[in-house]
Amino acid sequence: MAPSIGAKVVLLREDLDRLIAELRERGYVVIGPTLGEGAILYEEVTSSGDLPAGWSDVAEAAAYRLQEGADRRLFGYSLAAQGWKRHLYPPRQRLFLAERAGRGFRLSSGEADGAPMALLGVRACELAAIQIQDRVFTKEGFTEPGYAGRRRAAFIVAVECGRAAATCFCASAGTGPAVGPGYDLLLNEMIDGDAHRFLATAGSDNGAAILGGLSCRPPTAAELSSAAAQPAAAAAQQQRRISADAAGVLTRAAESPHWEAVSKRCLTCGNCTMVCPTCFCTTVEDITDLSGDIAERWRQWDSCFTIDYSYIHGGSVRQSGAARYRQWITHKLASWHRQFGSSGCVGCGRCIAWCPVGIDITAELHALEQAEQVSKGGDNGAD
């Protein structure tokens, strides 16, 4: 009988190549973790040989390093340097090309989309981030057609975390470590001596059909319980946490003196926004060729940390670094709820690792919370 949604089978290490081949056979470009530039990068993979076997990562505030792992795990690292955003919503895209025609112009459309993508190795926090971006780009009134098309066509192979990096805080963000619904396939990677295998769970009809094609054996009870223990282990390792009242704290903190303190450290470089898997801001650039007869409009990722971001005639609204940091964290953890019905933070910790001065979103929030307690105490005293 063909497997259905929820079906679980066991893939051996070598079956992963059959899975990749099957996805490619079905027309997907498979994007997965690879080694490059001293980091894990999500790039096209054509076989399991492209995956970072035996590699792990260490992340701390302002630090990210690869190191050799304890075993030959393919997904032994925590996170790639950047998330899947760059594939679903590319950093630079042409919106249109315009050709001068008389005193006017003729428009032709942007760029055609490539082949559908299979995203291999999506973590719980990353799946949550994709679902947050779904709400950003397909909200009432307007759907971003490029994103929506790529997203609709994408096949998601989630991989559960068995360990956490020091920067991880998905457990308190409510997005992991257990992978939530929304995947096509879920893999739990397990190594026991020489036995290297995956528990695969179908999360969609499409996922079930692909599992059916691989004709694998059902899992043993020991394999099921070993897989089930992974998220708890990853949760137990998490050292950072984010306050449940983040939105409330930030809504009340607009005039906090703490912003000045952060701005003494913040370089306003925008790294946090570039690596954040939910940050979605873009700007447009209008250019012409040398003849002046061909004009193009390009959309590219932008960051609320740049001075130009808030420019209106006469100057930028957010001149100070303090105002820009406040904008970013307040948007992420507070405004987002009202705009898109959830927090904008999934607890991946990338902004902590890739901040050149190690500013930690959880620590800054905590400091604001503490400052609020102190000032409340002071008010009471004055009464």
Binding site: L95, F96, A98, R100, R103, G104, F105, L107, S109, V136, F137, K139, E140, G141, F142, E144, A254, E255, F280, C281, T282, T283, V284, D286, I287, T288, G292, A295, R297, D302, C304, Y309, S310, Y311, I312, H313, G314, V317, R318, Q319, S320, A322, A323, Q327, H331, A334, S335, R338, Q339
Partner: protein, 278 residues
């Protein structure tokens, strides 16, 4: 929530029928869709105007809302794109995306006195609301237009202001920050006019548009008179790249000014107004 145009990211070509020089740095474009057809909007809404190769800027619509054959924009040249718009002549073509944003709630004010308070080029986004109010004149109590400009040379739509002033059913108060030449009118900020204008504070709807600092003082003056914050509406300006709440630039607290604004009910944004660099 307002309804967006069918393809909000693609500029539609509009041909310039006429350029009207308003002030030394301000001009009005009369536009018509190249491909024919109509252009409907509500007072207070804006378009993204595209100059071939130069870029795009958000500009409020300043024309008659009942006229859907002709699109009117009044623009002050302050940056590279508005300067490029200023170099265009009748017969040239611009790209238009829109209309975007929330309208002035003119119909909600039926039965009330209507106080229109504008500063500088802020009169342009209010002009469609004035047209709509005039078209429905019997449905309002008093109609009071309070307008402040820097100098007499900076008074926008001067002839129209005079025409409105000559009507027995419209009160027009114009004030300048600095008197020059033959100016015999009022000198001082527009908020002083608000303090004395003869509207009934308990039954007044106010529409306010101008520099942020001017709006702040205007709202204060209205509140001092006893006008409810829920009956005061302001039009905000922020950097905008998309017009559909996608690029993030226009955020003001939790609001996307392009989509949740530009016109806000003051009571909904009162807490944001005093926060600097928000």
């Amino acid at each position: 929530m307002t309804v967006l145009p069918a393809n909000p990211m693609s500029p539609r070509p509009f041909r310039i029928l006429k350029v009207v020089r308003e002030l030394s740095d301000t001009f009005t474009l009369l536009l018509q869709p190249e491909t024919g057809g109509a252009f409907s909007f509500r007072p207070g809404q804006f378009n993204m105007l595209y100059v071939f190769g130069a870029g795009e800027v958000p500009i409020s619509i300043s024309g008659e809302p009942a006229e859907d054959r002709q699109l009117v924009h009044t623009i002050r040249s302050v940056g590279p794109v508005t300067q490029a718009l200023g170099r265009l002549k009748a017969g040239d073509v611009v790209g238009v995306r829109g209309p975007f944003g929330t309208p002035w709630p003119v119909e909600d004010a039926f039965g009330d006195d209507l106080a229109i308070i504008a500063g500088g080029v802020g009169l342009a986004p209010l002009r469609p609301a004035i047209y709509q109010a005039l078209a429905n004149r019997p449905r309002f109590g008093k109609l009071i237009i309070m307008y402040g400009a820097r100098t007499p040379q900076d008074i926008l739509f001067r002839k129209e202001l005079e025409k409105w002033r000559s009507r027995f059913d419209v009160n027009v108060h114009v004030t300048v920050d600095h008197a020059t030449g033959q100016w015999a009118g009022r000198v001082g900020v527009v908020t002083k006019v608000v303090a004395k204008a003869g509207f009934d504070p308990l039954h007044t709807t106010a529409l306010v548009c101008g520099p942020e600092v001017m709006m702040r003082y205007a709202v204060e003056a209205l509140e001092e008179r006893g006008v409810a914050a829920s009956k005061v509406h302001v039009s905000m300006e922020r950097n905008m790249k998309c017009g559909v709440g996608l690029c993030g630039h226009c955020q003001w607290g939790p609001h996307f000014v392009c989509r949740d604004g530009p016109v806000f009910r003051f009571s909904d944004v009162a807490a944001l107004f005093p926060v600097r660099e928000l």
